[in-house]
């Protein structure tokens, strides 16, 4: 081994503690990148494979009732590759553990041997046999949530009559990767089910023989999707076509794709922030490290080593640390990714999901850390190379403080010398101090923004389930029903208030921008569910115009007063142009609201409701549930408490849970930066501090000079960190927000207080650790160490 190599490894061993600290910080940045981009790759590849193997349809065309002969006409549309039809309906399943029945969709299964679109994936048991009309396959998530195994029976209310069905198997399906109870957005396996049953049986029960209620289509590669959708709508309109939509608008696919693209945005935005802070820390430590080797560098050059040889030697040292960190990050990222996979499979029912390492993320992590480390080293090396070897071997001349002398002489006169030392250093070496300030502020910004995000999650939950929605239950009907239903429900003992709701599927259009969603018609002066403005004040719904949620307004690029086209897909399916009457703050989904009478007027179905919000007296729940269970019109009841719980679970255990990992990483980085700033300051001033000890300063008095500086740096960093943290939180909130929910950035005094406490706590701990080191320093050897 060459002597330089021996030196390399001994140097590494000597600075092992510091090297390890840098590796961990770099590792965290790289780990986040590897984990997040790996998740994006895993989810999207799994989704694509699943869709391909099970022939997920390109187009869905629901109708009220279309004759089977329409199939050949659909097949003749230019661009259509294949057509499949099925019968669908809604059902209620009685389960032993709940007072309320569970809403379910019931879908027909063809019994021929041909392959069909949206093929189910049998996870246990077998498919129903044509000879046994009572046999069904159940959605796996629901079956598992209620412990229903193949071989058991379930009680189902279908078309207002109750019957017992035999469960022969459980299945997953590419169209039910993500699903929620009707009227909700957050999945809860216990409260939504899917039943697959032989087509003849279902058609007979729903009186749909020789007809279908949904056409599924695949398109040719070169098809013009919009033109195909228009053609389908024209063909099916006479049969009550509700509007064909492409797979991108399919709820399950949309949520999954939104999750993936949200994750993609996070993977692009969040890890670079962590990497930047890590890189900054790396630069500070590396430059300090090379600076302290000044004498050795002079010596090597005196022996005749060239600048290039010396550079290579130090770059090797730096790169070993940087690449070690990147490797550590890769391993950590894969481990975190594997840990995160089950969170996704709980909410996204994918048949298989393996964490994939995205090579590019690993490479970019390695490249970033290596580049920053090399640059940091090179800048300092260049400065040293400019010195003659003899000069480099001598201790540097004292830094010039002469330009700080006359600032505020009057005030200075009153200060003792140690305080003057602190202040002069802060004034005289502003760049060095600024470096430490920026580092601590950046670390604080990471922690603060994560804490603001935490509060944003709480705020989203509170605003959605306590401020906007103040009902106890939401009832959906099998079909829009007459206003009499309100009186029926008001008569139930224990129901204290009923507010009607009319929801209608709509395609919102503004020029080329469009969004497939729904309009919710709310009662005038509604109290249980309200559209609120940015100041959480209720918006009075006008008799004309539509109130959009902020997220929908931004998708469509619309403001208050603009015209908007509503392509309503219900009743007489009118297309109307109206005005945006207001913008409401909604954190869940992208809803739109109208006055219920105005909406019914547009559809030309006066006095109709599709659901109702209920307020229930305490203790009367059981009675109300029983009454609702016996109302044939009721398609489902969702309880606000259960929906809130499901939302909370997703936030804490689902996709939102990565905020805890990031929070932990942010705290680790914050502490790492502050500790390093304190250590670097200590190493730089060791000689001065030892001199003070020689003069008879006690340990505490000596520590003041060092810790005073750390205190000043910390105090200056605090307000800067608050500003940076608030700015950063917008970026991170955007990363966490999805089509499903928006994370608001709130004014967060509590988060700010906590972040300040974290930084001050880290400063105190670091100060204590450094002071402990300082107390152990041998005065004489410290005096001999040259700067």
């Amino acid at each position: 081994m060459k002597p330089l190599h021996a030196k390399l490894f001994r140097d590494l061993w000597r600075i092992k503690g510091q090297a390890l600290a840098i590796m961990v910080v770099i590792g965290i940045g790289v780990a986040l990148q590897v984990m997040m981009s790996g998740l994006v790759a895993s989810l999207s590849q799994t989704r694509d494979t699943y869709y391909e193997r099970h022939q997920f349809a390109d187009v869905f065309a629901p109708v009220v009732r279309a004759p089977e002969r329409m199939v050949s006409q659909l097949r003749n549309i230019v661009g259509v590759a294949a057509v499949d039809t099925r019968v669908t309906g809604v059902a209620l399943i009685d389960v032993a553990t709940r007072n309320l029945p569970v809403s379910a969709r019931i879908l027909s299964l063809s019994s021929d041997d041909q392959r069909h679109l949206n093929e189910v994936l049998l996870t246990s048991g077998r498919l129903p046999e044509a000879a046994n009309p009572q046999e069904v396959v159940l959605l796996e998530g629901f079956a598992r949530a209620h412990g229903i195994l193949p071989g058991s029976q379930i009680s189902v209310t279908l078309n207002a009559s109750r019957r017992l069905l035999d469960v022969v198997g459980t299945a997953q399906s590419p169209e039910f990767i993500y699903y929620a109870a009707p009227g909700e957005m957050i999945p809860d396996d216990t409260r939504f089910g899917v039943i697959w049953i032989g087509r003849p049986t279902l058609a007979a029960t729903l009186d749909l023989k020789g007809a279908f209620t949904e056409a599924l289509l695949t398109l040719r590669r070169d098809a013009n999707a919009d033109a195909v959708l228009d053609s389908i709508d024209r063909l099916l309109k006479p049969y009550g076509g509700a509007g064909a939509y492409a797979a991108v608008d399919h709820p399950s696919n949309r949520f999954l794709s939104e999750e993936i693209s949200g994750l993609e945005v996070s993977a692009k935005n969040v890890p670079p922030v962590f990497m930047f802070v890590a890189a900054f820390l790396l630069y500070i430590v590396i430059s300090r490290l090379v600076q302290s080797e000044r004498e050795e560098i002079g010596l090597m050059k005196a022996f005749g080593y060239s600048d290039a040889e010396v550079s290579i030697h130090y770059l090797q040292l730096i790169l070993i640390i940087a690449l070690g960190g990147a490797l550590l990050g890769c391993v950590l990222g894969i481990a975190l990714g594997r840990m995160t996979i089950p969170i996704y499979t709980t909410y996204y029912k994918l048949p298989f999901l393996l964490f994939r390492l995205e090579a590019s993320s690993f490479l970019s992590g390695i490249l970033t850390s290596a580049t920053v480390a090399t640059l940091g080293g090179a800048i300092v090396l260049r400065r040293i190379f400019q010195l003659a070897p003899a000069e480099a071997m001598r201790p540097p001349s004292p830094p010039d403080y002469s330009k700080t002398g006359n600032l505020g002489q009057q005030i200075f006169r009153r200060l003792d010398q140690p305080t003057r030392m602190v202040i002069r250093r802060v004034i005289r070496q502003p760049l060095r101090i600024l470096g430490a300030v920026m580092g601590i502020a950046a670390g604080m910004a990471l922690s603060l923004s994560m804490l603001i995000i935490y509060e944003g999650f709480d705020e989203a939950l509170d605003r959605t389930f306590n401020v906007i929605d103040r009902s106890d239950a939401f009832v959906t009907f099998t079909a829009p029903t007459s206003g009499k239903a309100i009186y029926e429900m008001q008569r139930i003992t224990g129901v204290s208030r009923v507010e009607p709701v009319r929801a209608a599927p709509v395609i919102f259009r503004n020029g080329r921008r469009q969004y497939t969603g729904a309009i919710t018609g709310l009662a005038t002066r509604a109290r249980l569910f309200r559209a609120l403005d940015a100041e959480t004040q209720p918006i009075a719904l006008p008799s004309q115009g539509v109130v959009l949620s902020a997220s929908l307004a931004s998708i469509l690029e619309l403001n208050v007063g603009d015209d908007i086209t509503l392509d309503i897909r219900q009743g007489n399916q009118p297309v109307v142009v109206t005005r945006v009457a207001g913008i409401t703050e909604s954190l869940m989904g992208s809803p739109a609201f109208m006055d219920i009478d105005a909406l019914n007027g547009l559809i030309d179905e006066p006095n109709r409701l599709s659901g109702a919000y209920l307020s229930i007296e305490d203790g009367a729940e059981k009675n109300v549930y029983t009454a609702l269970k016996n109302m044939p019109k009721v398609a489902g009841v969702s309880l606000r408490a259960e929906a809130a719980k499901a939302f909370e679970t997703v936030m804490d255990q689902g996709a939102g849970s990565s905020r805890f990992i990031m929070g932990f990483m942010a705290f680790a980085i914050t502490f790492g930066i502050i500790y390093n700033a304190a250590r670097v300051a200590k190493d730089e001033r060791l000689r001065d501090l030892a001199s003070l000890r020689v003069m008879g300063f006690y340990q505490g008095e000596t520590a003041f000079v060092l810790l005073g500086e750390l205190a000043v740096v910390t105090l200056v960093a605090l307000p800067l960190g608050v500003l940076m943290g608030n700015a950063l939180s917008h970026l991170i909130a955007a990363g966490f927000s999805t089509d499903l929910y928006q994370i608001p950035v709130v004014f967060a005094p509590r988060a700010t207080g906590t972040a300040i406490a974290i930084v001050v706590g880290a400063s105190l701990t670091s100060g204590w650790l450094v002071k402990r080191d300082l107390d152990r320093v041998e005065i004489i050897s410290a005096l001999k160490t040259r700067e």
């Binding site: 010039d400 403080y401 140690p418 001065d688 005096l783 040259r786």
Partner: protein, 242 residues
């Protein structure tokens, strides 16, 4: 009895069997091997000897910067070898001043402030201006170390060391980094301090010629005292050969 007390009052330092060993076993380095010594108050003492002969170790122990492995050292009646860290700090604070080869000034403080650093914590200091006057720097009070030459920096270091009116001044190679003219000027200052304030001055040096200005010259070799010479007629610093 009286004689003994007088003896103590005249003695600045006394050591008995002072031993310092670094490390253990085979790799142990014996820096001091049982040194017995007496230094009289008000003397200028020069310690001579090659590198590693133990002179710096002795100075560090007497100055309260290091601890002996065995044996005892007294400053007047105080036993230095029995003091804890805090007591040693207090000892340095009250009684002794140090001057090193590389000045060790605080770069962020002016000449006057560097001296005030000490006068602020001392019991009976002279003013910083007076101390700097003594070393001939009365006109450069508000200069920072970076604005001073090496000799000037060393004189600030001396002013800082004497401003508290210490009983003893320890100087480890005080002229090691200086040219002959500046070096003699620094030695002159040390001689002045000794004459005007009655401070005991201990100087470690490689330059044997410096011994000419000392009242007592101690030669070190291999961690022990080889000989002690008394000089009846010390010369002026200006006459020291370089």
């Amino acid at each position: 009895m009286l004689d003994a007390k007088e003896e103590v009052a005249k003695t600045a330092f006394r050591t008995e069997g002072l031993t310092k060993t670094y490390g253990e076993g085979r790799s142990a380095v014996h820096a001091l091997r049982g040194v017995d010594l007496e230094i009289v108050r008000g003397e200028i003492v020069v310690l001579l000897g090659p590198s590693g002969s133990g002179k710096s170790t002795l100075l560090n122990i007497l100055g309260g910067l290091d601890r002996a492995s065995e044996g005892d050292a007294w400053f007047g009646e105080q036993c230095l070898t029995k003091m804890n860290d805090r007591q040693l700090t207090a000892y340095r604070r009250k009684h002794v001043g140090f001057v090193f080869q590389f000045y060790n000034l605080m770069p962020s403080l002016t000449a006057r402030e560097n001296v005030e650093l000490v006068t602020e914590i001392a019991d009976n200091p002279i003013s910083a201006d007076e101390a700097l006057d003594l070393v001939g720097l009365g006109k450069r009070l508000d200069h920072f170390p970076a604005q001073l030459s090496g000799g000037e920096q060393q004189r600030v270091a001396i002013a800082r060391a004497i401003a508290k009116q210490p009983e003893v001044l320890f100087c480890d190679e005080p002229t090691g980094a200086l040219d002959s003219t500046t070096g003699r000027a620094v030695l002159r200052v040390l001689q002045d301090v000794n004459e005007k304030l009655g401070t005991t001055v201990l100087i470690i040096t490689h330059a044997a010629a410096t011994a000419a200005m000392a009242g007592r010259v101690i030669n070190f070799a291999d961690g022990a005292i080889r000989d002690v010479k008394l000089n009846e007629n010390p010369v002026d610093a200006e006459e020291v050969e370089w």
